[in-house]
């Protein structure tokens, strides 16, 4: 059964560094059906209307974290947002806020990736074990302490939601700090002291002012605001006791 064809206007913030001094809006009329995502709308533009529009995408099912963009001003995964929600109005798509625009809807993720590497986002075993010694065991409660933070897909929506990162790009930012906490909160991990040096630094947990929007926009329920803010108490204790505790972490 064919739906009557509906047409929605999509405004795309274009930026072509070789010709645009600054980003400009360009409008496209896109025919769509109710099951089409915003990503499919943008793909329609590229395939049928204007092949020069650039954007990132991969999985189309909210797991790769590539297709994040500002949709009517809100950071969203475009594969998980539907055109029908905006019809009969139009919608605006723009590269993720707070990150430099590389071209059109593509941001420069270099800063994010560098920060991600710096926190060593992998388990540093507390005690090395041989195969014969068996697996690292964990109770359901120990698992629950970090599980939600481990759902991060590095989509950077939380960076586009964080005004503190926009105002000061030195701030490590929500996603990376949530992953820092994810590994530190894991009972099998022994790398917490070196990660906390980054967490307790000025650019770490204290750069957060608990706006909380990062947790609101996270498509995976990671709750970065919670991961960050629960560390402030220990950071404060560490700050005041570092002179009396032998080998106290942090500077």
């Amino acid at each position: 059964m064919a739906d009557a064809e509906k047409i929605i206007e999509i405004e795309v913030l274009r930026y072509r560094p070789e010709q645009d001094k600054e980003p400009v809006w360009q409008t496209y009329k896109v025919p769509f059906t109710d099951d089409m995502s915003v990503l499919q709308g943008v793909q329609y533009i590229k395939d049928y209307l204007d092949g020069t529009v650039s954007f990132r995408w991969s999985c189309r099912m909210a797991i790769c974290g590539s297709c994040g963009m500002m949709i009517d001003g809100k950071p969203k995964l475009s594969c998980k947002t539907f055109l029908r929600e905006y019809y009969p109005g139009k919608l605006r798509v723009e590269a993720l806020a707070h990150l430099p625009i590389e071209r059109d809807l593509i941001v420069d993720a270099g800063d994010f990736v560098k920060k991600l590497e710096s926190i060593k986002p992998y388990i540093i075993p507390k005690e090395p074990r041989t195969l014969e010694q068996g697996e690292y065991r964990q109770t359901p409660e120990q698992r629950e302490k970090y599980e939600q933070y481990s759902s991060c897909i590095n989509c950077m929506l939380c960076y586009a939601a964080c005004p503190q990162y926009g105002l000061n790009p030195k701030f490590t930012g929500p996603g990376v700090l949530a992953l820092l906490h994810r590994y530190n909160a894991d009972s099998r991990d022994g790398g917490s002291a070196e990660r906390l040096e980054l967490g307790y630094a000025d650019e770490g947990f204290w750069g957060c002012t608990a706006v909380g929007y990062c947790s609101e926009v996270c498509p995976k329920g990671v709750d970065p605001a919670n991961a960050i803010n629960q560390n402030k108490m220990n950071s404060a204790i560490n700050y005041f006791t570092r002179f009396v505790t032998p080998g106290g972490a942090g500077k």
């Binding site: 707070h98 005004p163 926009g166 002012t209 608990a210 706006v211 909380g212 605001a225 919670n226 629960q230």
Partner: protein
């Protein structure tokens, strides 16, 4: 040679961009009203140190219409202050378990708000008890 020229957008007026940011700024700005009320109380302490007449005059000034209006505004901002801070409180707490079950954010906010209401009522009745 690279043709890259990443464009950094301005943050001017960022807090007006999203209603979520406006609510955040409103929460932060209530701290100024809390500070203002602290100043009112400190003036009271200062007037008390200046003797009974000065203190009575301060009490009288508190009963004036502008002062009552000001206190109503303070009360409204305090209510928002209390609500917004307990609302963000679950974000500031480590994951907790009671009886093997994770404590839900709503429970943390609700407990905080209930404690605030109980504290307010307790203060109200204690003060009323001092002025029969």
């Amino acid at each position: 040679m690279s043709n890259r020229r990443p464009y950094v957008r301005s943050m001017d007026g960022w807090w007006k961009r999203d209603v979520y940011f406006i609510r955040y700024m409103a929460r932060e700005v209530t701290a100024l009203f809390v500070a203002a009320y602290a100043v009112v109380l400190l003036v009271g302490v200062l007037r008390l140190s200046q003797g009974q007449a000065a203190y009575e005059a301060w009490l009288q000034a508190l009963k004036s219409t502008p002062s009552l209006v000001f206190h109503l505004i303070l009360l409204a901002t305090f209510v928002y202050h209390t609500w917004s801070w307990f609302n963000i409180m679950p974000k500031t707490m480590p994951i907790m378990f009671v009886g093997g079950k994770r404590v839900q954010p709503g429970t943390i906010t609700g407990t905080g708000l209930a404690a605030a209401v109980v504290a307010c009522l307790a203060v109200f009745f204690i003060v009323r008890g001092m002025h029969p």
